[in-house]
């Protein structure tokens, strides 16, 4: 018989390295037609970092994502970066890029100020224009300013910057300190169906509410949540590296290492929790790892709700669940008073 259950997994997760310096440096070049090129040492591992970082630069410069080209991952030509790790790219590399873009923009402001007959501090960049704050009608197209900067004033608009999250080292005896500059929070709630005759679990749906600070690109955040959940399902129910008595792996292949396919995925509803972190680029934090953190917890709690058995070790395979169900039934039978 199939029994359904629901379970919550709630988590928090830090952004960046634990205490240790993990800087990112970046350079932003504004081309003489008002488009821009970003140089970053980060590596695109598939999560869409280059797109998000391009959006951050674009936002700072008041241009669109398509106006920005991002160049990455070459130790000869791009500035140093601690890497695509610890969910730090949007926050640390993003901050570095925002700061670098700001510096390049300031050169444009310096050049535009006399042309617009105001002080540089009165200017802002928006909608592909350099315009006066509070009186945007007085403006110049960014292309014109960039061209003027380079060819008339001899001041090409380029900026470099680096960012490292501020931390405080942890006391070696008590661990007290400020190991990270910011954290993200999330909850996933799972509904499962457990077959109490086979122990098999079907994850029916998951509602995921994730904080990532400002969502620079909500579509890509959804993708991260969905992908993270798939890894979480594998961790909860299927995946395990097995060793023989000599310490040699028995299943070092995809035939016998079971991981989620399209058939294993539940319906996923993603909510991005609205939040703004002033220490992040435009309020953003990060999302790469947190998405796979609470899934196993939610599923295992849902199994507990469905069939009343607590599985204490992962993966919660059908065999384990069935054995636990049988044990529970045996205990319940023993607890019943004997027939008169």
């Amino acid at each position: 018989m199939k029994r359904t259950g629901k379970g919550i997994g709630c988590m928090w997760y830090p952004i960046g390295f634990t205490v240790a310096a993990n800087p990112s440096a970046a350079t932003v070049k504004i081309n003489e037609d008002g488009t821009a090129t970003v140089l970053t040492g980060t590596v695109e591992t598939g999560q869409g970092a280059l797109t998000v970082l391009g959006q951050i630069a674009a936002e700072e410069l008041g241009i669109s994502a398509d106006d920005v080209h991002v160049v990455s991952a070459d130790t000869d030509t791009t500035p140093m970066d601690t890497g695509a790790i610890a969910s730090r790219t949007t926050y640390v590399t993003g901050n570095a890029i925002q700061m670098a873009a700001e510096k390049a923009k300031e050169i444009l402001f310096e050049v535009a100020a006399p042309l617009l007959r105001v002080k540089a501090e009165q200017l802002e960049a928006a909608d592909r224009k350099i315009q006066v704050k509070g009186f945007p009608q007085r403006c110049l197209p960014i292309a014109e300013v960039a061209n003027h900067a380079q060819f008339v004033m001899g001041m090409p608009a380029i900026g470099s910057a680096s960012f490292n999250p501020p931390t405080v080292e942890m006391d070696p005896e008590t661990g007290q300190g400020k190991p990270f500059s910011t954290y993200v929070y999330a909850t996933q709630i799972a509904e499962v169906s457990v077959d109490d005759e086979t122990g098999e679990v079907d994850v029916i749906r998951i509602a995921a509410a994730h904080d990532c600070g400002t969502a620079i690109n909500p579509m890509l955040v959804e993708g991260q949540v969905q992908g993270g959940i798939s890894m979480g399902i594998g961790f909860a129910l299927q995946e395990e590296m097995l060793f023989d008595e000599n310490g040699v792996q028995i299943n070092p292949n995809l035939t016998n290492y079971i991981m989620p396919t399209s058939l294993d995925m539940p319906e996923i509803e993603v909510d991005i929790v609205e939040n703004y972190d002033p220490t992040g680029p435009f309020g953003a934090k990060g999302v790469g790892e947190p998405t796979s953190v609470p899934t196993a917890a939610a599923i295992l709690n849902a199994i507990f709700d469905a069939v009343g058995v607590r599985i204490y070790s992962l993966p919660a395979t059908a065999e384990k669940i069935l054995a636990a169900i049988k044990e529970k039934r045996a205990e319940e039978r023993q607890a019943l008073p004997a027939a008169e």
């Binding site: 988590m11 997760y13 590596v43 951050i56 790790i85 509410a209 709690n301």
Partner: protein
């Protein structure tokens, strides 16, 4: 005069040859691939402001066209292929490595053993991992020799001809066993525990005394692998100025360059690492693996050398997620408020440290959950075992401890007769809460995430 006649004759024969061949001529290479060279840009990419746009990915377009060049898709003139021989034995002393038979095989251009590597150790915190094992093997996936050959198949065949003599040593596989004083020692003769972390806050013993109820449980998690669809891949090549260029699937090229500099004894400005596009990382491609090996093979042969991990290499010889053994003891009042928690984490640290220190540190901090707990004591240990090295994998210990503290929470909720959502809302961090390390937390939205998910899910229905 004579020469000109000869030239004319030669031209005539060439013409004749060409005519005869016309009918037989077939393209030796595929014709250029066609695709629309389109500058039509989706609206979301053209809007200002840029933040918040559901912008599509330009690299995503290329992925769908099949145009993205991952490292295995790159090829250079004269390029050859490398393969690494794996130990296949969990713990042993290497008595000898004989590559002579392999070296003799036609098509095999170079071999490499650990002793040839200038500095044969690396690691993000402890440099305890050899590039190629030369003295002792610490896990079955350790590389013990490498070959470079004209084709991948030849390189793989050549590995079979390498003979390694091992003197087996006693391995230890279980982390709890490995913690005991008389366990076989992996690296350090005194202890297999190579990292410890502690968090102490308040007075956990008094907290337990004061609490209405005490709950205890032990949770365990398993070793899993990242399984990026793209296996680890690297191409190495030198130029006449002694500059090494590496195309690599590494996720951290700045550190990678430092590691290559250290292992090969090169200044940083003689090394170039190009990151290219990676087919998935998840933490498993965050330290060097075969880069120094391919660098040396390339130097020996004067050719670009490509190495791509097989799927078996991925499982046996790349980092994995730490199995955790987690003991939780929680003091909680009848109203559901947690007053004290003691956690003991034992991380199976595998054969090498890799990212274990970071994992331990994070797991420790996160292990109490996003909940206000005034009295807390967490201790964590990373232990060497003779199994595949454990390293960074999506979450650095967080998925493991979250499984533990959330399961534990529901066990307590059930016993106390409190709804799982309510008990979490009661204990959750709020803005300016104190973290386990005494940090003042800002932009905290735990309760919001609980409520939004519950609403979306229909928790109350």
């Amino acid at each position: 005069m004579d020469d000109n006649v000869k030239v004319v004759e030669a031209e005539t024969s060439l013409e004749a040859l060409r005519e005869a061949d016309e009918a037989l001529r077939l393209p030796a290479v595929a014709e250029p691939i066609t695709y629309p060279i389109e500058t039509k840009v989706p609206d979301a990419r053209q809007q200002t402001p840029a933040v918040g746009q559901r912008a599509t990915r330009p690299d995503g377009r290329l992925h769908g066209l099949g145009q993205t060049k991952y490292i295995d898709d790159l090829s250079f003139p004269g390029m050859i292929h490398a393969k690494i021989k794996r130990a296949g034995i969990a713990h042993a002393r290497i008595k000898s490595v004989d590559v002579s038979e392999a070296a003799k095989m036609p098509g095999v251009l170079a071999t490499l053993v650990g002793a040839e590597i200038p500095v044969n150790s690396f690691g993000p915190s402890l440099q305890d991992q050899p590039v190629l094992a030369s003295d002792i093997v610490y896990h079955a996936g350790d590389g013990v020799a490498a070959v470079a050959a004209v084709t991948e198949q030849l390189a793989a065949d050549a590995l079979e001809k390498i003979t390694v003599e091992y003197e087996p040593m006693t391995p230890v596989f279980d982390p709890l066993e490995a913690m005991s004083d008389d366990a076989p020692k992996v690296h350090d003769p005194d202890s297999n525990i190579y990292a410890t972390k502690v968090i102490k806050k308040g007075d956990v013993d008094k907290g337990f005394e004061d609490a209405d109820h005490i709950f205890e449980a032990t949770f365990r998690t398993q070793m899993v692998e990242h399984v990026p669809l793209e296996p680890h891949a690297t191409i190495a090549d030198w130029d006449g100025n002694g500059r090494l260029t590496l195309w690599s699937s590494l996720g951290r090229i700045t550190m990678g360059r430092a590691d290559v500099s250290r292992t090969l004894g090169l200044p940083y400005n003689r090394i170039r690492i190009i990151g290219t596009i990676v087919g998935g990382n998840f933490g498993g491609k965050n330290e060097i693996t075969q880069e120094p090996i391919l660098g040396l093979l390339s130097k020996k042969t004067g050719r670009p050398v490509k190495g791509v991990y097989s799927r078996e290499d991925e499982f046996m010889s790349s980092t994995t997620r730490h199995p955790f053994i987690m003991e939780y003891k929680t003091g909680i009042n009848s109203d559901g408020r947690i007053v004290a928690r003691k956690v003991r984490l034992v991380c199976d640290g595998g054969a090498y440290c890799s990212w274990s220190e970071t994992t331990l540190g994070k797991a420790c901090i996160l292990s109490a959950g996003p909940y206000n707990i005034d009295n807390l004591h967490v201790e964590a240990f990373a232990v060497y075992t003779n199994k595949t090295m454990t390293g960074a994998m999506r979450g650095f210990g967080a998925p493991q401890v979250c499984f533990a503290y959330e399961s534990h929470m529901d066990d307590m909720a059930k016993e106390l007769g409190i709804d799982p959502l309510e008990i979490r809302l009661l204990n959750a961090f709020e803005e300016n809460a104190a973290s386990p390390t005494g940090q003042v937390l800002e932009s905290v939205v735990v309760k919001e995430s609980l409520q939004i998910a519950a609403e979306r899910f229909g928790w109350k229905d």
